[in-house]
């Protein structure tokens, strides 16, 4: 198994699962407590399979330093309000769905995992798209918040389509994934009466170092919280 590929996809799932777990006890409605936890659990399950392909899941999750994580900067962004969480879900689940669908079809080393995960992710994407529609085309306030969230996270979306080594995809595949993602997100945002953000997605001002271990400031604090207890008891089993 290619380590870089497993870490990239595994860390995405691990970190986003953690961010979604932060909602427990804080969601706007009881049904969302259940839904967000459900998505977080699916992602954690994916992360555990992927990390275990290349090492010990707990060593990888709890004992790596910030610069050794290979997740996208998008997934480490703090939850913000519910609109930010939904925008993050919309962007990420759309990407993850297309990527896993592609990996499931190609018979490569991750195709088994991808085939199972794509079914879960189809639900995550549906959840995010429905909420995007409700919030975009709900009240003036929800529209304003959803637009602001979509705009704020837009700069993190270009990174998703930078080639990951070891997945068996060539440069053209990534261009096609990006095009399919953009088309779908455009359709959802437009249908939700939202404007597709216009800022840069891939150049000097936009995010893009996550796969090389360059992260944003909030990520260090997230890891400090996540790893503290495990690191306080070296060698202990739980």
């Amino acid at each position: 198994m290619d380590t870089a590929a497993a870490l990239a996809l595994g860390d995405d799932a691990l970190v986003l699962s953690h961010r979604l777990g932060e909602w427990a006890g804080h969601a706007p409605v009881l049904e969302e407590e259940v839904a967000l936890a459900n998505i977080a659990l699916d992602l954690l399950g994916q992360a555990r399979v992927l990390l275990s392909l290349v090492g010990d899941e707990d060593e990888l999750a709890y004992l790596r330093e910030e610069r050794a994580f290979r997740n996208l900067q998008l997934v480490e962004q703090p939850g913000g309000d519910f609109a930010h969480t939904i925008a993050r879900q919309l962007y990420f689940s759309g990407y993850q769905y297309l990527l896993y669908e592609r990996l499931a079809a190609d018979g490569g080393p991750l195709s088994g995992l991808a085939a199972k995960a794509v079914k879960e992710v189809a639900y995550h994407r549906d959840h995010a798209e429905q909420w995007t529609t409700r919030l975009g085309d709900g009240t003036q306030e929800s529209h304003r918040r959803m637009q602001r969230a979509c705009d704020a996270l837009w700069r993190y979306t270009g990174e998703m389509f930078r080639p990951v080594e070891g997945l068996g995809l060539d440069a053209e595949d990534w261009v096609l994934l990006d095009a399919a993602w953009t088309a779908r997100v455009t359709e959802v945002l437009t249908g939700a009466t939202l404007t597709v953000p216009e800022g840069p997605r891939a150049d000097a001002w936009s995010a893009g170092g996550g796969r090389e271990g360059l992260h944003t400031e909030p990520f260090g604090r997230m890891l400090a919280e996540m790893q503290h207890l495990h690191r306080s008891h070296p060698g202990a089993s739980w």
């Binding site: 427990a24 706007p28 409605v29 407590e33 009240t139 306030e141 996540m226 495990h230 008891h233």
Partner: protein, 322 residues
């Protein structure tokens, strides 16, 4: 309704309860029975959603990915239990919004046990073993409660609670058999949670305000003291297998009674916690209110969107039919 018919309805209700039949939402029931059930089911639902907080406190710090997955699933189950219980209460003619409003304004209570803090990871285990264990002891008899929707909700809740109790026990066992620091963490948690768990069964029988009527209506099947004794008897051998002690010097087997004797409970503590003076009352209710207030715009958006969809459906031109 004439008094003669009321009497006939009452007689039919009493006969159904006496025959261990289930009362269903459309059946006639005395107002006091309805009010008692609403109070109890609401308090139970509120306890599930407030009870998410002390455990959610450790989701982001869970020390292994396996433990994190188990804890997330458990907290999710509690949200699910809240959903079933609010739905079951709605069959009695109250809405979830009304009940939440009563919780937020302090007119309805939740279990006082959740006003204690989770200070270490071992508290997650102690809550599972002791708090969920006490809850199961209380709730298993509710599966035979006279009110159908409540009894049926409890069947599902109890299955999941028994998984929660086992995970708590297993978590504590790993700590107890772990490093000295882990063992000490487990013992400290059990020391702090034991007495509050015994108080979960409510005041002693002679001081329990609602017990007698609830027993007569078969909402409640066993007295507070009976259930508390059952719980102590279950816990003592489990604590031994865990290699942990229970913080009660008076705890010992009584051959004559066939039960464990245990020390006097400090009821003034429970009274204080119920009055709002527990360690976390303000924090728990504050977080619940804040989540509700901060989520208001989301709920309003969902309602506004649904209303737009309904209007759009009504105004779309109908297709011409032959």
């Amino acid at each position: 309704m004439t008094s003669v018919t009321t009497e006939a309805y009452e007689a039919a209700f009493d006969a159904a309860v006496a025959a261990d039949e289930r009362i269903e939402p459309r059946d006639w029931m005395p107002e006091a029975y309805r009010a008692t059930l609403i109070r109890q089911m609401a308090q139970h639902a509120h306890s599930e959603i407030i009870g998410m907080q002390p455990e959610a406190n450790w989701i982001t710090r869970a020390p292994s990915l396996r433990r994190k997955a188990i804890l997330m699933a458990k907290v999710q189950d509690e949200a699910g239990h809240g959903l079933y219980l609010y739905s079951a209460a709605e069959t009695l003619g109250v809405s979830r919004d009304e009940l939440l409003d009563k919780l937020h304004t302090g007119r309805q209570k939740y279990s006082s046990i959740f006003n204690y803090p989770t200070l270490t990871w071992a508290d997650v285990g102690a809550i599972g073993w002791l708090v969920d264990g006490a809850a199961i002891t209380n709730q298993v008899p509710l599966c035979r409660c006279s009110y159908g929707p409540y009894a049926r909700a409890m069947v599902r809740v109890c299955k999941e609670e028994s998984f929660h109790q086992r995970q708590g026990y297993e978590l504590l066992l790993a700590l107890s058999k772990g490093t000295p620091a882990q063992h000490a963490m487990a013992q400290d948690a059990v020391d702090r949670w034991w007495w509050p768990s015994l108080m979960m069964f409510g005041p002693p029988d002679d001081a329990s305000a609602h017990s007698a009527q609830s027993m007569a209506w078969k909402i409640k099947r066993h007295s507070n003291d009976e259930l508390r004794q059952r719980f102590v008897d279950i816990c003592v051998p489990q604590a031994e297998s865990l290699g942990l002690s229970l913080p009660d010097p008076d705890l010992r087997w009584n051959e004559e009674r066939g039960h464990h004797d245990f020390g006097a409970i400090d009821w003034s503590e429970l009274t204080e916690v119920i009055k709002g003076n527990g360690p976390c009352n303000e924090q728990r209710l504050g977080q619940r209110r804040r989540a509700h207030e901060e989520g208001a715009w989301v709920r309003e958006a969902a309602a506004a969107h649904a209303a737009k969809r309904r209007t759009a459906q009504h105004t779309e031109p109908r297709e011409a039919t032959a």
